[in-house]
Symmetry: C2
Subunit: 124 residues, 2 copies
DNA sequence: ACATTAGTTTGATAATTCCAGAGATATGAA
DNA sequence: TTCATATCTCTGGAATTATCAAACTAATGT
């Protein structure tokens, strides 16, 4: 992930309403949630929600598609993973164990490790 | 880490100048760097740098202490680790493996990853 | 065709953030 | 003390971001 993308993602999440929206979407997994449902749960006026969803989409953190009258939004785990990778590599001085000791061991287990499309570099 | 702290940290990092400052400090480890040195390396006017350092300090991402005439700033790895933990737990739906697969395996193993001055590739 | 439902866009206003200049403060040297 | 160095704070204006009412667009049902 490039710095500019990381900044966009960080900026998108650095706002209470958007962080709430994103967390809600993450909780609902790949099936996502209709915009109206998000608005109802978070008590947000439709235009305000629409504004924030656009920011999240611009940052690549959510995807959307229409289903009948509703527009379904879902969290984009790939971007979130890329952001975590960027922060770990660029903001932990190449010593991830200093900054990421909290990760559950599951993240390290054998199977799960991957499938990332791009090779990743460890910063010097 | 509370949501408000996470938002402050995200907001602090969501700005090019500050992300540059933070990355520079991370690269220089616990010894830190004097404000003047940061200003020189990043070509920043002193007031601008001071403004951003204050934001980073408010977010808990850097610490500072005076040493003679200089004020030394250093990255606070603890806060960075807390932020990564918050994001992993709250933005990955309790499925960290979905979002954190990019971590070099070494982060989980016994040490060693580090200290390489050369860029290194981790096979996916 | 018309009404209904679901979202978006527009636009005005309020709040916040960014950043450079001028001046203030703290430390060390002569 | 006086001077030079290093950094900070205060200030204010420009730019950006957040909010939400009103108007608009798209899909569906009658």
């Amino acid at each position: 992930m490039k710095q500019i993308s990381a900044i966009r993602a960080l900026g998108a999440l650095a706002q209470e309403t958007r962080l709430d929206i994103f967390r809600l979407l993450v909780q609902h997994g790949p099936e996502g949630l209709a915009a109206g449902e998000i608005a109802a749960r978070l008590r947000l006026p439709a235009p305000t929600l629409s504004f924030h969803l656009n920011q999240l989409r611009f940052a690549g953190l959510v995807t959307s598609h229409r289903r009948s009258r509703s527009i379904i939004y879902a969290a984009n785990y790939q971007t979130m993973g890329d952001l975590l990778g960027y922060l770990t590599q660029n903001c932990c001085g190449g010593r991830p164990e200093l900054c990421a000791p909290v990760l559950p061991a599951a993240a390290c287990g054998p199977g799960q490790l991957l499938a990332s499309k791009h090779k990743r570099r460890v910063s010097p």
